[in-house]
């Protein structure tokens, strides 16, 4: 934290260097998809299956 070369900007650069844009894109897509499926999907089968979970998580569904 004190070191000048360790900053949030540096970390973002490191992450850029470590992850290819394909990897980053795939990761983002997976996370979005998972969150969507778990909390926001309206498809009856998916929606009803996660019904209790969504209620317990405090996400309003109806």
């Amino acid at each position: 934290m004190s070191a000048a070369n360790d900053s949030v900007r540096n970390r973002i650069d490191t992450a850029r260097g470590t992850l290819s844009s394909t990897q980053a894109g795939l990761g983002l897509l997976t996370v979005t998809l998972a969150l969507f499926l778990l909390a926001f999907a309206q498809e009856p089968l998916v929606h009803d299956a996660m019904h209790n979970g969504r209620h317990v998580a405090g996400v309003v569904c109806h």
Binding site: M1, A39, A49, N52, V56
Partner: protein, 240 residues
């Protein structure tokens, strides 16, 4: 970077596991109970009596999904975001700050406009719109958390109280404006206020527990170096 992701995933798996257990033992029975009462009270439009999926399946998927949610939070918030923000977080208690930010983003801020509603409570707002609103408020929460962190660091040189106060002001202002501007739904309650209170308590405890356990595990993991040996200075192993 991968070390950070792994740590986040482990913390998330433990937190998600505990939370899944909570959903199984407390959440599922309570939702089932509330729904039973609601059905006796009045017929409600969503029609959970005629769901596509059997109750047993709902319970199992809800437990599994809740555990997966914990894993996801761990991986994203504690792993990825934690890695990026680590230089800006304090050596001790950084994981708890991340957990607080995660809780406020995912639950706390959206609840200001869309508080958790027990099954059987009807909102006057279209479901789809309410979900978009929820997602939007999550974004507001994330931005507010990051903005207050940024402000803290800009002003911390004048002393920690100044930085902390400024961070709080930024957070409250951002969230307050969003909460005032956002349309809020009316609730039409079909259940008793006691059940409603018990239900909201359960939800809040569950979310705080999820983030708390995950943060505690994550904080603990920071004390281990990669060979699995306990190093007494968490900050050193974090620095790598």
């Amino acid at each position: 970077m991968y070390d950070a992701l792994r740590g986040g995933a482990i913390a998330g798996a433990v937190g998600g596991g505990a939370y899944g257990l909570y959903v199984a033992l407390v959440g599922n029975p309570l939702v089932a109970h509330a729904e039973e009462l609601a059905h006796h009270g009045h017929e409600h439009g969503h029609g959970h009596g005629t769901t596509v999926v059997a109750d047993g399946v709902t319970s199992v998927v809800s437990v599994g999904g809740s555990a997966a949610l914990g894993l996801l939070f761990g991986l994203v918030v504690f792993g990825f975001v934690g890695y990026l923000l680590e230089p800006a977080l304090p050596d001790r208690g950084g994981s708890f700050l991340l957990g607080l930010g995660g809780f406020l983003t995912v639950s706390g801020v959206p609840w200001l406009v869309l508080p958790p509603a027990a099954p059987g409570v009807e909102t006057t707002m279209a479901t789809e719109f309410a979900l978009y609103l929820y997602a939007g408020l999550m974004a507001v929460g994330a931005v507010a958390c990051i903005a207050s962190g940024w402000v803290y660091h800009r002003l911390a040189e004048y002393g920690r109280p100044v930085g902390t106060a400024a961070a709080l002001v930024v957070f409250v202002t951002a969230v307050g404006i969003a909460a005032l501007v956002a349309p809020s739904p009316g609730y039409e309650s079909g259940v008793s206020t006691t059940l409603e209170a018990a239900y909201i308590g359960t939800v809040v405890v569950g979310q705080i527990g999820l983030w708390g356990v995950t943060a505690a595990v994550h904080e603990g993991l920071a004390g281990f170096d990669s060979s699995g040996k306990w190093s007494h200075s968490p900050s050193e192993s974090r620095m790598r």
